[in-house]
Symmetry: C2
Subunit: 232 residues, 2 copies
DNA sequence: TTTTCTTTGTGTTATTTTTACACAATGATG
DNA sequence: CATCATTGTGTAAAAATAACACAAAGAAAA
């Protein structure tokens, strides 16, 4: 039986999506990878992804694959770049539209890995050599995250609704790979007027407890439409 | 005769590239468009573009189409975004990887328009409603250009090797849609240390003649590799 | 109960960057 | 030689950023 039933006048590359998923564990930035169970690159780690269907955009496809492979949904997602090197997939011509997503790790329990699909968080700096051109994809995603976090309040996508100033600072420092002065960082963040201070404090710490903060998304949306620019 | 000779197990979207070409006429920023001679959108204007071949990356495809349709080659080009809305092309499922290019208009004489292919520069603010989703593509390209020109010295790609400070300022003002103070703009640009002042002046102007400048690309490359950041 | 240890919360000063702004010089034209 | 339009240059005020220090909180140890 012939399975080659979709025919065209000219050859077409296959079209896939891949998704770089960033998470923050309270200390540093992590990336979610999936171990490939089949060739090519069997046993290597790669980003979740798959083929784009005819009735969905690439963004819809990326979201669908993200959910199917990790259970993650309704998170920040943004197109990163399209990788189209002729040789990037040994199986043939495959063009991939890569996305990157920011998730609150506490919202998702990774499925206990059956043999078919093993998913695991890696510290960004401990990510091993990846399948396909995913090393390049990751480098590009990290660069994008680095620049974007400075002029859009996307860092909060990686934190729980309630977080502390030290957590936020660790997040920025981990992504940007630089250190901030604790006082200047706090001043700058608070000066945006976008953080709500709660009275509640972190319990059971053997030192002065930091207060919880919340990001005021409503206020950000209001300010944004009147020409305000977030910047750290 | 059956022309449907390329067959696959699963359906595949067609993959094209489109290229937004920006040019500067000395006064304001322009966009190069091509009038469609065939349906769909016959008579409407669109960006040059076409199908990606199996032996080329999308960037190579974009460059090839750019040259075939306008004669332009060896210019600044960068991937913009991939547009994949299911309905974006009435002929069927077509995903396009859009690029944007910056050209020195004086380097290219547009081919006298035969009936098959009419190319024309439009002032950015006078661009008519375009074919496909190219209005959206243009908006995205302009936004990218706006942000990129502030932190990468790409404005010089739009000017001749020799240019003047007033020209450079008009270029920035046209792209960013804001006005700069002439003195502050000049100070900021010169402080980068990337411009070479020539002794030559613009001839035959009925007022004090501005001096010619050149962008020091060599110095930029050196500085860049030692962690310098251009910023206007 | 008091001391110790660690970390948070806050404010002031010095430095750097950005903005606002004015006047002399050039070059063709009448 | 005066006129007109535009370039070249510098300084002062204002704003943003960077450097920096001390008091307060909270658990654990003495």
């Amino acid at each position: 039986m012939d399975t080659q039933k979709y025919c065209y006048e000219y050859p077409r590359p296959a079209l896939t999506t891949d998704c770089v998923i960033f998470g923050f564990d309270g200390i540093e930035i992590n990336v979610l990878l999936i171990e490939r169970g089949i060739a090519p690159f069997k046993g290597k780690w790669a980003f979740p992804g798959g083929f784009v269907r005819m009735d969905e955009s690439t963004e819809e496809g990326a979201k669908r694959e993200l959910f199917e492979e990790t259970g993650i949904k309704d998170v920040f997602i943004e197109q990163l770049y399209t990788f189209s090197d002729v040789q990037r997939d040994p199986r043939g011509r495959v063009v991939t539209v890569a996305y990157f997503a920011l998730v609150k790790t506490s919202d998702y329990q990774l499925l206990a890995g059956d043999d078919a699909m093993k998913a695991q968080w890696f510290k960004l700096k401990d990510v091993p050599s990846l399948a396909f051109d995913h090393d390049l994809v990751l480098r590009k995603a990290h660069n994008r995250l680095k620049s974007k976090i400075r002029y859009q309040p996307i860092g909060f996508e990686l934190l729980d609704a309630k977080f502390t100033m030290p957590q936020l600072q660790l997040l920025y420092e981990s992504i940007l790979e630089i250190k901030f002065d604790r006082r200047n960082f706090s001043n700058k963040i608070m000066k945006t007027g976008l953080l709500i201070q709660l009275d509640e404090k972190v319990p059971n710490v053997p030192h002065r407890a930091p207060r919880y903060l919340m990001f005021n998304k409503k206020k950000y949306n209001e300010l944004q439409s009147s020409g305000f620019n977030f910047e750290i």
